[in-house]
């Protein structure tokens, strides 16, 4: 049915996508250790993960090659996560973004969703719940792409 990344329907305790459907992920966080940790964790699940320490680095990386999904920290120097989110979406409509916010910014999370993020994670989060969200987001992206190929004129994203 779905051609792109499609993990198992119910993400169990350790969702692991098939090797053939290795999605390209980008992690943006100015806290480099944190970004590395997420990279390790996601790489264990079989994704190809790049990390960027700043918004400019993320933009440069995206120019070189497109990503399926980006995990973006909200609070960063030089450019906020929300701005980066808008920029990434502008360059590539097919990129899905999960925002990582500090705990307690529920309204900022909503704001991010309004601006086109597909989900948000409140720090500190469990790596397992992050993996679940990533898998779910990729699944949604696959559905979105499929819909796009069927009805190219309709944009599902705009409805959000």
């Amino acid at each position: 049915m779905a051609s792109a990344a499609k993990p198992r329907k119910r993400p169990a305790k350790n969702p692991r996508p098939k090797a053939a459907s290795r999605a390209r992920l980008l992690v943006v966080d100015d806290e480099i250790d944190f970004a590395r940790m997420i990279q390790t964790s996601l790489a264990q699940s079989g994704y190809r993960v790049d990390i960027a320490q700043s918004a400019t680095q993320a933009i440069a990386l995206q120019r070189k090659k497109p990503y399926d999904l980006a995990l973006v920290d909200l609070r960063m120097p030089e450019m906020t996560g929300l701005e980066l989110l808008q920029y990434l979406k502008l360059r590539d409509k097919g990129i899905f973004v999960i925002m990582m916010t500090a705990y307690g910014s529920f309204s900022i999370g909503i704001e991010a969703l309004k601006k086109g993020a597909c989900d948000y994670l409140a720090k500190p989060f469990k790596l397992n719940s992050m993996k679940e969200k990533v898998a779910e987001a990729l699944e949604r992206r696959a559905r979105y792409l499929e819909e796009q190929s069927l009805f190219p004129q309709r944009s599902t994203m705009d409805e959000w």
Binding site: N14, E31, D33, F34, M37, I38, T40, S41, Q44, A102, Y103, G104, S105, F106, S107, I110, K123, P124, F125, K126, L127, N128, S129, E132
Partner: protein
């Protein structure tokens, strides 16, 4: 800005004092009518003196001297005094004497009073004026006076017939008593307003002080939380990685699991403290209650799965928008759900329902204000009745040391209070508990917004100090 506020305050005090003082002046003139001099100049002098004395007395009585500073006091005093003196002296007849003063009172009253009160005072003054006119023209014995008598009372004295005198004294007496009563009442009304306003002001200052305290606390905890949360996130993440690499039956895994457990506890504590202190910082806006509830349901979903519990959601999608703190509302409902989840055993049942209902009629059938009723029921252990009274107190936990911070329900209570709602709890041991929240449908009213404005200003002020 604050100096402007003081000016406006003192101006109001001034006007109020002036109103009182004019009332007293009329009274004194009235009482002294019989012995008035015929010379306009002397009379004007007396009036001015009288006015100045009365004005100062009233100011002192009101404590206005303390508050009113600058050029305003002497200016208004001089203008008023001259005005009153000239008006009173220039007018000849007994009735016209008081009309300009009535007008002054009316204008002052209109300026200082809220519309509703102003109407009352205007009606009041009109009653005084009409009764006075009646007394002066209709009730007075017409045959006593000649058409040319300027001062009827002295005319009576001149005619000096005992019968006429009696009638005239009676007339005078009724006027005095009537006037005394009316003016006393008016003064009382105005003074009561002063008192109640000052009381309100004091209460507001107090609540503002509390808010400021909360803001400072919020900033502090926010900073601490951010500083603590980042390392905690790293620790817990790396622990998870390590645990993934370790065999589950090994000793190392058990030790790591224990560390993880304690790290989670630290994370929870930080989170609860943050929730408890942050409420007053979020902004008020119209929010859709179904959305908030759905978000809370979404957030609890993973834990629900873990415990294999069932959650029945019954939310009326047409609930009116509530003027509320988004985050507070979300947090409160999430806490309630988590609480319910903690109390049930595996496979238990939680019910979340939200609907609109009309408030129980208290005043009249026309009083159709509604409220939003949110209920969270569980089939859990229930809460023992001694605990029931105290569960909303901060740091009161029944979950045992280290498991809960005791802030969860305290946060709920705070949020509900902030939205002027009420929360009640019913519980039966072994059968479960049910929490019922009632939010007034209008949410946080305009007065609250006003407070918020003042708060915003103060918060800026605080920030300015920090910078």
């Amino acid at each position: 800005m604050s100096s402007f506020e003081t000016d406006r305050q003192s101006f109001r005090h001034l006007l109020r004092a002036r109103t009182l003082c004019l009332g007293l002046l009329i009274l004194l003139l009235w009482l002294g009518e019989g012995s008035r001099s015929q010379s306009i100049a002397v009379e004007a002098g007396w009036n001015i003196l009288l006015f100045a004395v009365v004005l100062s007395l009233v100011f002192m009585a009101l404590g206005g001297i303390r508050r009113i500073t600058g050029f305003l006091l002497p200016l208004v005093m001089i203008v008023d005094t001259l005005l009153a003196g000239v008006w009173i002296s220039a007018s000849g007849g007994p009735v016209s004497n008081y009309m300009p003063l009535f007008l002054l009172i009316l204008v002052s009253a209109l300026m200082i009073l809220p519309p509703k009160r102003a109407v009352v005072v205007v009606a009041w003054v009109l009653v005084i004026a009409i009764v006075t006119l009646y007394l002066d023209f209709a009730w007075r014995l017409p045959m006593v006076f000649d058409a040319g008598d300027i001062n009827p009372f002295s005319a009576i004295l001149e005619k000096s017939s005992l019968e006429f005198r009696r009638a005239a004294y009676l007339h005078q007496g009724v006027r005095w008593v009537f006037f005394l009563v009316m003016i006393t009442l008016l003064c009382f009304v105005l003074m009561r307003q002063v008192w109640s306003r000052e009381e309100k002001l004091r209460a507001r200052e107090k609540s503002l002080e509390q808010k400021r305290h909360f803001i400072q606390m919020g900033e502090l905890t926010g900073r601490i939380a951010h500083g603590v949360n980042t390392p905690l996130g790293l620790i817990s993440g790396n622990l998870e990685l390590l645990m993934g690499e370790t065999r589950k039956d090994s000793k190392t895994y058990k030790q790591l699991a224990q560390i993880d457990q304690y790290v989670q506890r630290a994370i929870n504590t930080v989170r609860d403290v943050l929730d408890y202190s942050r409420q007053s910082l979020s902004e008020i806006k119209p929010v859709s209650v179904p959305h908030i509830l759905q978000a809370a349901v979404q957030a609890i979903q993973p834990k629900l799965k873990e415990k294999e519990a069932k959650l029945i959601v019954d939310i009326d999608p047409n609930l009116p928008a509530l003027l509320a703190y988004t985050e507070g509302l979300f947090q409160a409902h999430l806490n309630l759900l988590e609480n319910a989840l903690d109390s049930i055993d595996t496979g238990g049942l939680i019910t979340l329902s939200a609907k609109f209902q009309y408030r129980q009629v208290r005043l009249s059938a026309a009083d159709k204000r509604g409220e939003i009723k949110v209920m969270v029921r569980d089939t859990g252990r229930g809460i023992p009745s001694p605990d029931l009274k105290r569960i909303f107190e901060p740091f009161y936990s029944t979950k045992g040391f280290g498991k809960g911070t005791g802030l969860g329900l305290a946060i709920v209570k705070r949020v509900v209070d902030e939205h002027r709602g009420t929360i009640t709890v019913e519980s039966r041991m072994g059968e479960g508990s049910s929490f019922t929240i009632l939010f007034p449908a209008e949410g946080i009213s305009a007065e609250r917004d006003h407070e918020k404005d003042a708060l915003g200003y103060n918060a800026d002020h605080l920030n300015g100090k920090d910078a």
